[in-house]
C-alpha cells in the first residue's frame, strides 16, 4: 500500500479523469443510438445498414482509429476529443443494435392500442414506444458502460491521463502495486456505473419494478410489489 498512499493525489486525478472520459461517450452512444434504432426498424434495408454498419464499426482496431480520426474531424493528434469520439463510435456500434431490439420488443397490441386511442406517430414514439423499450435499452447501455470504462485506458497511448496511465507507468517502472491499483479502481468504477444505471432504471421505470429486468446479481432487493388484488375484491361489482 506504500505506493498507493504516496500517490493518492495522482490516483484521484486519474480516476476523476477516467470517469469524465467514460461518461461522455456513454451518454452520446445512448442518445445517438435511439434514432438509429428507430431507423433500423423502418425496413429490412435500413436494418441491414444499421446493424451491419454497427458491427463493422466495432471491428475497427482502436490504434488506426486514433490515427485516422484527427484527419477526419480535424483535431490535433493528442487531443482528448479523439478518444471521446472513438469511444462514442464503439458505444454506438453496440448500442444501435440494442436500441433496435429494444424498440421492436414493445408489444404490438400496445402500440396498436396507442394508435387506436389517438396518439400521433411522434407522441406514440416518445411516450409509449421509447419508455416501454426502457428495460432492453437499459440492458444495452449497461454493456456499453462496462466496455467504455475498460476502453478508456487505451487512450493512454495518445496521451490521455486516465487509469490506463497506471498500467503503462507501473509496467515500465516494474511497480506491481501501481498496476493492481489501476485494475481494482477500473473494476470498482465499472461496478459503480452499473449500479447507478440500474438505480436510474428503477427511478425511470417504476412500472417495471419486480419484473426481473432491473434486478440482477448484486441488486437483489425484494421488490415491494403489492399483491394483485383479486377480481372478487372489486367492492362495487354488482352482487
Amino acid at each position: 500500500m506504500r505506493w498507493a498512499t504516496g500517490n493518492f493525489d495522482l490516483i484521484a486525478e486519474l480516476t476523476l479523469n477516467h470517469v469524465r472520459l467514460a461518461i461522455i461517450p456513454i451518454i452520446a452512444s445512448f442518445v445517438l443510438s435511439i434514432p438509429l434504432g428507430w431507423l433500423a426498424n423502418r425496413s429490412k434495408v435500413t436494418r441491414a445498414i444499421v446493424i451491419t454498419g454497427g458491427s463493422l464499426l466495432y471491428t475497427i482496431p482502436s490504434l488506426p482509429l486514433f490515427v485516422i480520426l484527427p484527419l477526419i474531424i480535424g483535431t490535433r493528434v493528442l487531443d482528448e476529443t479523439n478518444l471521446i469520439v472513438a469511444l462514442s463510435i464503439y458505444g454506438v456500434a453496440i448500442m444501435a443494435r440494442s436500441a433496435s431490439d429494444a424498440l421492436s420488443s414493445v408489444a404490438g397490441p400496445t402500440v396498436d392500442a396507442a394508435d387506436a386511442i389517438g396518439f400521433s406517430p411522434m407522441s406514440r414514439f416518445l411516450r409509449v414506444e421509447l419508455p416501454l423499450a426502457g428495460p432492453v435499452l437499459l440492458a444495452g447501455i449497461r454493456v456499453v458502460s462496462v466496455s467504455t470504462i475498460a476502453l478508456v485506458s487505451v487512450g493512454v497511448i495518445i496521451g490521455s491521463a486516465n487509469l490506463g496511465y497506471l498500467f503503462q507507468n507501473g509496467k515500465q517502472r516494474g511497480i506491481l502495486e501501481e498496476v493492481v491499483v489501476g485494475i481494482v479502481i477500473s473494476l470498482l468504477l465499472a461496478l459503480i456505473f452499473d449500479l447507478a444505471l440500474v438505480a436510474i432504471g428503477r427511478l425511470a421505470m417504476p412500472w417495471n419494478a419486480g419484473s426481473g429486468a432491473g434486478r440482477r446479481l448484486w441488486l437483489r432487493v425484494p421488490a415491494p410489489t403489492p399483491e394483485p388484488a383479486d377480481a372478487r375484491a372489486d367492492t362495487r361489482s354488482p352482487a
Binding site: 396498436d112 392500442a113 394508435d115 386511442i117 389517438g118 400521433s120 409509449v128 377480481a231 362495487r236
Partner: protein, 292 residues
C-alpha cells in the same frame, strides 16, 4: 349514426375481408357484430376509426365521411376498448384513464380529477388509481379500459372483443355493468364478439355475419331468436333442433312451482308468474326467451 356505404376491404394478400357491405348503425344504441373468426367483423369495426382503410366505399359518422377527417383527431373522439384492455403498461391506472384528455390538451390535474370520477363510474375502487395495469386482475383491467374510452366523453364507443380474455363469471359481471352504464350514458356502441350469448345480453341490434362480411341476419335479439333467417343462423345461435326452446314442467314433488327446462330437459329456472318486468336480470327466465 354510423353508415357503411358499399364498403369493400381487400387486403394486400388478396383476402377479401368485407365485400360491398352496406349497413346503418343507429345512434345511442348498442349494435353487436357477431360471427366466427375471419368473418370481417373486426375489420368493419376498425374501419370506423380508420385503423383500417376501406379499399372502396365510404363510412359516414352523422353524415360525415371519416376519410375526410384527420385520423388522430377522429380516434381521440371515439372511445376504443379492446381485448386485454390495451392499457399502457408503464402508466398508472389513473394516467391510463386520463391519457386521451391529456393528449387533447386538458390540464393534467383536471384530467386526473375527472379520471378519478370515471373510476367510480365503472365501479373501480379509487385505491387502485396508483397501481400499474399488471397489478390488476383481468376484470379490473377491462374496467380501466372502459373508463379510458369514456374519458373524452365520446359519442361512439368501439369495443373489440373486450371481454374475451376474462373468466366467465367476471365476464358476466362486466356485461351487466356495461348494460347499466349504457342505460345511463346512451352511447352509440359498436361491439364485436364471437359469443352469441354475449351478443344477446348486450345488443339492441345484433348483426350475425357469415364469411367475407356477408350479413346472415340482423335484428333485435328477440327477432333473431324467434325467427332465425336460415339454417346457418339457427345453428349459430344454437336454435337448430330446438336447442333454444324452453318448456314449462310441473313435477309432482315441487309443491306447485313451475320449472322451466331447456331442450335437453335441463332445468334453467323457475317461472315467476308475478313478474314481466324489463329487468336485465339473467335468472329471470320469464323475461328471456319466448316460451313455446
Amino acid at each position: 349514426m354510423i353508415e357503411f356505404q358499399s364498403v369493400t376491404k381487400r387486403f394486400p394478400d388478396g383476402t377479401v375481408a368485407v365485400d360491398d357491405f352496406s349497413f346503418t348503425l343507429p345512434s345511442r344504441k348498442t349494435t353487436v357484430l357477431v360471427g366466427s373468426s375471419g368473418c370481417g367483423k373486426t375489420t368493419l369495426l376498425r374501419m370506423i376509426n380508420r385503423m383500417v382503410e376501406p379499399t372502396s366505399g365510404q363510412i359516414l359518422i352523422d353524415g360525415v365521411d371519416v376519410a375526410t377527417q384527420d385520423k388522430v383527431k377522429l380516434r381521440r373522439g371515439i372511445g376504443y376498448v379492446l381485448q386485454a384492455a390495451g392499457l399502457l403498461p408503464h402508466r398508472t391506472v389513473l394516467n391510463n384513464v386520463a391519457t386521451v384528455p391529456i393528449l387533447t390538451g386538458v390540464p393534467k390535474s383536471e384530467a386526473r380529477a375527472q379520471a378519478l370520477g370515471l373510476l367510480d363510474t365503472v365501479g373501480l375502487d379509487r385505491a387502485l388509481a396508483d397501481r400499474y395495469p399488471r397489478q390488476l386482475s383481468g376484470g379490473q383491467q377491462q374496467r380501466v379500459g372502459v373508463a379510458r374510452a369514456l374519458a373524452s366523453d365520446p359519442n361512439i364507443l368501439l369495443m373489440d372483443e373486450p371481454f374475451g380474455a376474462v373468466d366467465p363469471i367476471v365476464r358476466a359481471d362486466l356485461q351487466l355493468e356495461l348494460n347499466r352504464l349504457q342505460r345511463d350514458l346512451g352511447k352509440t356502441i359498436v361491439f364485436v364478439t364471437h359469443d352469441i350469448d354475449e351478443a344477446f345480453t348486450l345488443a339492441d341490434q345484433v348483426v350475425i355475419f357469415k364469411k367475407g362480411g356477408v350479413i346472415a341476419q340482423s335484428g333485435t335479439p328477440a327477432e333473431i331468436l324467434a325467427q332465425p333467417a336460415d339454417d346457418f343462423v339457427a345453428s349459430f345461435i344454437g336454435a337448430d333442433k330446438g336447442g333454444r326452446d324452453l318448456y314449462l314442467q310441473q313435477r309432482p314433488d315441487d309443491r306447485g312451482l313451475t320449472l322451466v327446462v331447456d331442450a335437453r330437459g335441463r332445468p334453467v329456472g323457475i317461472l315467476d308468474s308475478d313478474s314481466h318486468s324489463d329487468s336485465d336480470s339473467d335468472d329471470d327466465v320469464a323475461a328471456g326467451s319466448a316460451l313455446p
